[in-house]
Symmetry: C2
Subunit: 325 residues, 2 copies
């Protein structure tokens, strides 16, 4: 049987609720409980269960590592928010705002260890492969975060460098989630590698869509958060392409806003967005997203699994591409 996205979300939700976190010392575990209860799409663990479900009816096979991946993802958000000094996450105050920097550091460390504990809860025969996949991925995510921070201080980031950064920071974990699920569903190496490539392509498209929504997303849905990347000069695909494609006068205008201090938020957003519009960056970005999406679709088409089994994964990929937040 093929489980629906909703079914899988519920399984993940229940499994996360069962993580024993009512432990001592409270100051270590309270922030972990808080972070894991603040929600999120649970995209990565759902992908793990879905990948298992492509090959097996027993999605329980990958429930524990799926939870481990979600704990890891939330650990990266916790430490990233601390490094970025972000006040809010998913509409709630961040851990370092509520409990201080030290709590964010140490509870994050504990989450990384806990992630490993859940990921290691797999049959011994696949443990070396699962573990190695996860460690390489986790190190890649750290590398991606470092590149992202490095880019803050640079004005000459190339498109290729940006693509490598988002591959590491976002795509490898999505790909790992899928491949791990496939391994636990006893898929062949060919099949699990195909799902990894599907995941990389979906992950790239996902992050490019994020960049796009920050500027062109529905203001109703995004509320006052729209343009956040522009305000803080984040080196997104749009800004990098704008710096690359702009004529001298556009470049001058762009630089003016990049160095300006204490500017009006909306004036800056409008000005930068105008340049993006002049450079046709929405269409350029959408076409690149489409390219990655089609590559992902290709990978899935080549997977020797009945089409009926693939439909929920395709639906999820479509949802990600068509989302407006």
């Amino acid at each position: 049987m093929t489980y629906s996205i909703r079914d899988l979300e519920n399984r993940i939700h229940d499994a996360i609720k069962k993580i024993p976190l009512d432990l001592s010392p409270q100051a270590l575990y309270d922030p972990i409980r808080y972070v894991l209860s603040c929600g999120g799409k649970r995209l990565r663990p759902i992908l793990t269960l879905m990948a298992t479900n492509l090959f097996s009816d027993d999605i329980g096979l990958s429930l524990s590592p799926a939870v481990g991946i979600e704990i890891f993802h939330n650990f990266t958000l916790l430490h990233d928010d601390l490094m970025d000094r972000a006040d809010m996450r998913r509409g709630n105050p961040t851990v370092h705002k509520l409990w201080g920097d030290n709590a964010a550091i140490l509870s994050g460390d504990a989450m990384l260890i806990q992630a490993y504990t859940y990921i290691a809860d797999v049959p011994p025969v696949v443990l070396p492969e699962v573990l190695s996949l996860f460690s390489v991925t986790a190190m890649g995510v750290c590398q991606g975060q470092q590149y992202d921070m490095d880019f803050e201080k640079r004005m000459d980031v190339t498109e290729a460098e940006y693509m490598e950064m988002i591959r590491l920071k976002t795509a490898v974990l999505i790909a790992c989630s899928l491949k791990m699920g496939a391994i636990l569903g006893n898929a062949s190496t060919f099949d699990s590698d195909l799902l990894y490539r599907f995941g990389i392509n979906i992950g790239m498209a996902f992050q490019l869509k994020d960049d796009l929504l920050d500027v062109y997303g529905d203001a109703e849905t995004f509320g006052k958060n729209i343009g956040g990347d522009i305000v803080c000069n984040k080196k997104t695909f749009l800004l990098i392409k704008a710096l690359e494609n702009s004529n001298p006068s556009q470049r001058k205008e762009l630089n003016k806003w990049l160095v300006a201090k204490d500017v009006d938020r909306f004036s800056k957003i409008n000005a930068v967005k105008n340049i993006y519009d002049e450079l046709n960056l929405k269409a350029i970005s959408e076409s690149l997203i489409e390219k990655y999406y089609l590559s992902a679709f290709d990978c899935l088409s080549n997977l020797p699994v009945a089409d009926d089994r693939k439909k929920e994964l395709l639906l999820l990929a479509d949802n990600l591409m068509q989302r407006d937040k």
Copy 2:
């Protein structure tokens, strides 16, 4: 054959030098290389190799996990120094002083992942046991660090609470180092558990000795760092016993120094040390250290391994007990 402490130290030294750290992004790996090159006693990985050597001549069996434990230990120092805002470690500036807080956070995270990679490099048949031992230990170290930070804000820490804190923060990793080496040397569960208990006792004695040396260590060796725990009101065994055993006038004097701001460093150290002397805390502490040391010795005596094999481990334990820094 039984390897000498020096032999094992050299093996660890060479293995650490071979860790590939000349990688991109440089900002992620430079702090890791720095931390691992700043030295230290390499106590924990030496214990791992020694434990293997009790049961096998092939210490190469546990070289990789020994390196993993040393990386983990240095990760804890890196994040602890950040949380404690410590400027110096082993005579060198700390990572957050040199590269900033974010580098300390992210490079530390990468070290924890790298530790897992080295620890997982063991024969598949022992991987689940080794990994579970390590994760439980690593979580224990986080719990210990949290208790230590919690104690900063408390004046009513009991001796029992303190003992549990140092068991978690210090002893479990030493015990884990030994047990992991034993497992890789193919020791029986009985033997590896005995070495774990040996390690807990040595670890407790080790930390109590640290507390003692901070106050009663050789000023020549310690230099101006002597009394550092007293200056920052650290809840050491000595301070906790002093708060517990003091008469009203001693308690009043102690409290005066604990709340005093901008006091002369040496006046405070002398005054608090005087109270410790009046309460005979040096002897009380030494007798507790002796108790743990004897318990450790007992564990090792019960280990069904030829005495000749045990001699380097006993020598190392003696060195730890008799050290003056």
